[in-house]
């Protein structure tokens, strides 16, 4: 019996895996809290925040929500729409910068 088959044929999982993930979530949350505590700034801060965020989100989805054990059919259906969101996020970020720029450039700021 190979690995994947085992994954799919058992309907419950060892309690150990849940406890592990649980623990990891606490640790990761603690780390992201430390990012603020030590007041990291700039790029470092952002990459750390995002890194921990995606790691935590990934763990919750994969193990607590069982996506890791689901068939790819459902995993794909759930993940592809995120490209639309990614596109939206990217463009809105650019748009935010542009609005800020035009406000600073033409307006007397502080009175805006």
């Amino acid at each position: 019996m190979n690995d994947t088959e085992k994954k799919q044929s058992s309907s419950t999982h060892n309690i150990g895996i849940y406890l592990w993930i649980w623990g990891l979530l606490f640790v990761l949350s603690f780390f992201s809290y430390l990012v603020d505590w030590y007041q990291f700034q700039g790029l470092l801060r952002w990459s750390l925040i995002l890194f921990f965020m995606f790691l935590k989100a990934g763990l919750i989805m994969m193990f607590f929500m069982h996506l890791f054990w689901e068939r790819y059919a459902i995993v794909n259906v759930l993940l592809w729409p995120m490209t639309a969101i990614a596109c939206f996020v990217g463009l809105m970020f650019a748009e935010g910068q542009y609005t800020l720029f035009s406000r600073l450039f033409y307006f007397f700021v502080g009175a805006e």
Binding site: S11, I15, I21, A57, F64, H66, Y72, I74, G96, R103
Partner: protein
């Protein structure tokens, strides 16, 4: 998670399996309960709701020329006379993750048809959720006391309060709904509805432990959203 063994159909793993599931007849998500599939799709839709909120927040914050309040100061709490940044938020995160863990275990025991463990764990989750909501109420009242309003605040850009109350409010609303259902389901577990297959109370569907998993998905999703709110609202 459920145990798909489908007669006359070989469940292949990986992308090959995906292609075959998709091309096969009757169901695309093999062995997935209708209610669970529905919850997943609903959560996908809800993801778009929260994404739109957070994207608006990002756009709003990126384009305001007025200084944005510093969250680590605004959300600091005095512990032993020293202001600790984000203390309450850290505890809230802790509580929510704890409840997520108990929920995950409840689902596990539900599948093992372990009524007692499952019931207690669902109840624990409900209490965790309730604690979270309580702390959120505390946080709101503290901020309101300090003069933060949806339309203005003493710390900087007016949008700060607007987005804060709107986004955490919407999240809190989700948590509250979840808590209500958790209590109901805890009762149903203890009452044995899922073992006897008793007809449900609302849509008159037959009870089954899969409902605990469905509720679990919702609850983990609420936790998931909090991960993003935590990162974008409190750490940014």
């Amino acid at each position: 998670m459920s145990d798909p063994k489908i007669e006359g159909f070989e469940l292949k793993p990986g992308f090959k399996g995906m292609a075959e599931d998709t091309a096969s007849d009757q169901t695309m998500f093999k062995g997935v309960h209708w209610g669970k599939a529905m919850m997943w799709i609903f959560l996908l839709s809800d993801t778009f709701v929260f994404s739109c909120f957070l994207i608006s927040y990002m756009k709003g914050r990126a384009s305001t020329p007025v200084e944005w309040p510093n969250p680590s100061e605004v959300f600091a709490l005095n512990a032993f006379g020293v202001p600790v940044p984000l203390l309450l938020i850290a505890i809230m995160t802790f509580v929510l993750i704890t409840s997520s863990g108990t929920m995950a275990l409840a689902v596990k025991y539900g599948y093992e048809k372990n009524k007692k463990m499952c019931g207690w764990l669902v109840l624990a989750t409900a209490i965790g959720g309730l604690t979270f909501v309580g702390m959120q109420v505390f946080e709101w009242s503290k901020l309101i006391h300090e003069g933060v309003r949806p339309w203005e605040n003493p710390f900087g850009a007016a949008q700060f309060g607007s987005f804060f109350f709107m986004i955490t409010g919407f999240h809190g609303f989700h948590v509250s709904i979840g808590v209500i259902f958790l209590f109901i389901y805890a009762y149903k577990v203890f009452a044995g509805h899922y073992e006897s297959g008793k007809k449900g109370w609302f849509t008159k569907l037959k009870g089954d432990y899969v409902e605990i998993e469905i509720l679990g998905l919702y609850w983990h999703f609420v936790d998931l959203v909090w991960v993003f709110i935590f990162a974008f609202f409190y750490l940014w």
